[in-house]
Amino acid sequence: MARLELNALTKRYGDFHAARDVSLDVPEGEFLVLLGPSGCGKTTTLRMVAGFVEPTAGSISIGGTDVTRLPPWKRNTGLVFQNYALFPHMTVAENVAFGLEMRKLSKAETAEKVKGALDLVQLGHLADRYPRQMSGGQQQRVALARALVFRPDVLLLDEPLSNLDAKLRQEVRIEIRALQQRLGITAVMVTHDQEEALTMSDRLVVMSEGQVRQVGTQRELYETPASRFVAGFVGRSSFLEGELRDGRLVTQGGLALETPKPVHGKVTAALRPERIAVSAEPPAEGTNVFPGTVELVSYMGGLIDLHVRLSPSDVVVAQVTNQGGGTLPATGDRVYLSLGSPAVFPASDPHARGH
């Protein structure tokens, strides 16, 4: 349990930057999630912390000690692998005991800690099984127990849920988070699943092309995305592209939007689907109200997505709650959308900071 600091960490393969100037400060006990599309450098960053990838430049410190040049076996991190990486020739108990054995604990102490760790993940009764005799979810929990039993300074999780089915994923997600909070352990998780990232983390790091794009709490990232990329990656957004004319954003299709701040040149407006109000009649008040035609209705039970065409070149997604009773919107319906005031970003670069 310790503070983890990454200082301008860079990994270069030839001309390719797998990670560039990644600086992060993870206070003791925080659950930090690295989020980004595949190839964004999140896994490289995690593997540098674990010691499997040697940084080209920059430094890593755990609990105030510089570990940049230490081999993996001297770092005291607990890593949970995507495919669990349980030793197939050892029983569950032997797997969990491995890290303690390497730390030369006495037999009695090892046995006691193994039991404690397995009880922690509710697998005490399966200690003598072999990994292949267990389900994916159980293997996942063994991997977690194995990574936690020796009290690592930092818990590292590499897409730990991607091999589980949807229902189990939800359960394990909550379990991991509860365990991390109970033990007060510093944790870094890598994922490309934004829902996972949003529900598990204290803070999120959005990465792309090897660089950190934004760091913040879920709420900060959702409410004030720094760039068009973040707006699209954290939560959903519809984008309207246009140009500034007479203080308004005018799209190619001729929509003229009021923007909260004066903008210049070519810009992109990002709209959250659930923040768009939908009505059958023109609303009495509201900013950026436009009529449109429903093109697609996607029914998801409690929520309904409406794809609404506002002009020949502008389509936005609006999400409405299913109130029951009344008639549901249907394809071809004429509706009015109140878009509210959108977040606006320069159109040229998806990573450029917004206005």
Partner: protein, 273 residues
């Protein structure tokens, strides 16, 4: 079964029949040797005049067979161990690193399997003669001369089968071990070796069997009076053709079969070969 359409049933019969014939073809020599070994008469002729186990006794009592058996066993075991020591690092290097000429090296290590035994034996003989002339060391006809020849027979098997095991080995297991605090050597000992053990055991077993049964290479390398079992059998057959040779062969087959079965009980070599 009865619900299968006629043509599919016919197809199944044909397939089973073909498989049965193939098995029979493989087993017939074994069956005949075994049958011959229990003939009562000295000159094999059909029909047998009666059955007896006396040739087994004769085979075991024959000093030449016995000492040849020990020589073969010693040569086989030592050659296999040396072959393993050479093959393990070679297979690891071929599996893990993009070696310059890696493909060529891999093929070169399989060469002894492809080159006819008689050619290999003759080449080794010439090499050892030349080396002996150049260095003055007594190599020709020495025990170690045969052993080093047989190492070449073992290497293709050990390299191939260890490579096959390594191909199925998930290297994140090694990372997991290192993350848990194991240095490279401990990781290799505790995780890598147990995972590729079936390949190591299978490679050694096949290597040993190919050394144990080898005739062509040994013929060139043995000294007078010091023979391996296949050579002893051949020499015996030059003078007599009584069933004691068959009995010795059956015992040899039995030893190898038991070795295979016992190892498979502990290490699932059937997963590799």
């Amino acid at each position: 079964m009865s619900v299968l359409p006629d043509r599919r049933r016919l197809g199944r019969w044909a397939l089973n029949g073909a498989a049965g014939l193939a098995f029979l073809y493989i087993l017939i020599p074994l069956i005949f040797v075994t049958w011959l070994s229990v003939y009562a008469q000295e000159i094999p002729s059909y029909p047998p005049e009666g059955y007896s186990l006396r040739w087994y006794g004769a085979g075991i009592a024959n000093d030449r067979f016995l000492s040849a058996f020990w020589t073969s066993t010693q040569v086989g075991v030592i050659a296999t161990l040396i072959g393993l020591v050479v093959a393990l690092p070679a297979a690891l290097a071929l599996n893990r690193y993009k070696l310059f000429l890696g493909g060529a090296i891999s093929n070169l290590l399989l060469m002894p399997l492809i080159v006819p035994g008689i050619v290999l034996g003759f080449a080794l003989y010439v090499f050892q003669v030349e080396t002996e002339i150049a260095t003055g060391l007594p190599i020709i006809g020495s025990f170690w001369g045969i052993v080093f020849g047989h190492v070449l027979l073992v290497i293709p098997w050990t390299v191939r089968l260890i490579l096959a095991s390594l191909a199925g080995f998930d290297r994140t297991l090694e990372e997991a071990a290192q993350n848990l605090g194991a240095d490279r050597l401990t990781t290799f000992r505790r995780v890598t070796v147990p995972s590729i053990l079936p390949g190591i055991v299978a490679g050694c077993l096949f290597g040993f069997v190919s050394s144990f049964g080898n005739l062509e290479v040994s013929l060139f390398l043995v000294a007078p009076g010091q023979t391996t079992l296949p050579i002893a059998i051949l020499q015996y057959l030059e003078w007599r053709i009584d069933p004691s040779v068959a009995a010795v062969s059956v015992m040899q087959i039995a030893v190898i079969a038991v070795a295979l079965l016992v190892t498979d009980r502990f290490v699932k070599i059937s997963r590799v070969v």
